[in-house]
């Protein structure tokens, strides 16, 4: 995960200003450099499209936004765009009873084990719920 690149001013005192709703605040410069998307980021994008289509209707972009907006300021600023997406997709899959936390954790452990066995570095820390 990338380190925060901007220094935030506390979004307090607004009495209900949500964490993502930062229009007009002074939050430092924006990194405008282009970068290629990683495979997992493209897959995350595809997953969202599939989960919201008419056949599945597991989530809506609005529910996805609501989940992302619920992270809290520190987490919201710390994690990247697609990290926000995949975390919200995971949480909505649990909320909508498509998968359970246990199923997701078990599968993650399995994948992690496979990578470790093959001598590849696996990320130890999980993403908070």
């Amino acid at each position: 995960m990338r380190e925060p690149e901007r220094k935030t001013t506390p979004r307090k005192g607004g009495g209900g200003r949500a964490v993502h709703d930062i229009g007009g605040l002074t939050l430092g410069s924006i990194d405008r450099s282009e970068h290629d998307l990683a495979l997992w980021e493209k897959r995350t994008d595809a997953m969202l499209v599939l989960l919201r289509d008419n056949k599945r209707r597991v989530l809506s972009v609005d529910a996805h936004r609501r989940m992302i907006e619920s992270y809290g300021e520190q987490e919201y600023d710390r994690i990247t765009y697609y990290e926000k997406w995949i975390r919200a997709i995971r949480n909505l899959l649990v909320e909508q009873n498509v998968l359970t936390r246990d199923e997701i954790q078990a599968r993650l452990a399995e994948v992690r084990g496979k990578h470790e066995k093959a001598g590849r570095k696996a990320v130890k820390a999980g993403v908070p719920w």
Binding site: G14, G15, G16, R17, A18, D21, G23, G24, R52, D53, N54, L59, S60, V61, D62, A63, R65, R66, E69, Q96
Partner: protein, 107 residues
């Protein structure tokens, strides 16, 4: 706005505001997901266009059908009305899409 069934065809009830009407964005805090930006709350603007009726994103966000549908407007603001020390040209404007339940008539 792409996506299945977001636009609701049924015309009634009629839109509360028409292009040219002066409106004020409600100054209340939001409960949950909301598409009205904070910096516009309590600000005065003018209706520039009526986009149509759409399922309510504040309800869709909780897996509800999003009904009653809400009329969505394009509202035009003067930049000088939005920011304390706006340094741009005096005629600069900003347009934002605002749902009807976030708008009040400006007297």
């Amino acid at each position: 706005m792409k996506g299945a069934g977001l636009r609701v065809a049924k015309p009634a009830p009629a839109a509360r505001f028409a292009p040219g009407d002066r409106v004020r964005v409600a100054a209340r805090p939001a409960l949950g997901h909301c598409r009205t930006p904070w910096y516009l709350r309590g600000k005065m603007g003018v209706v520039a266009a009526v986009h149509g009726r759409f399922r309510d994103p504040e309800l869709l966000a909780y897996h509800k059908p999003g009904l009653p549908a809400r009329v969505l407007y394009k509202v035009r603001f003067k930049q000088g009305d939005l920011w304390v020390r706006y340094l741009g040209a005096a005629g600069d404007q900003l347009e934002a899409d605002i749902y009807e339940h976030w708008l009040e008539p400006a007297k």
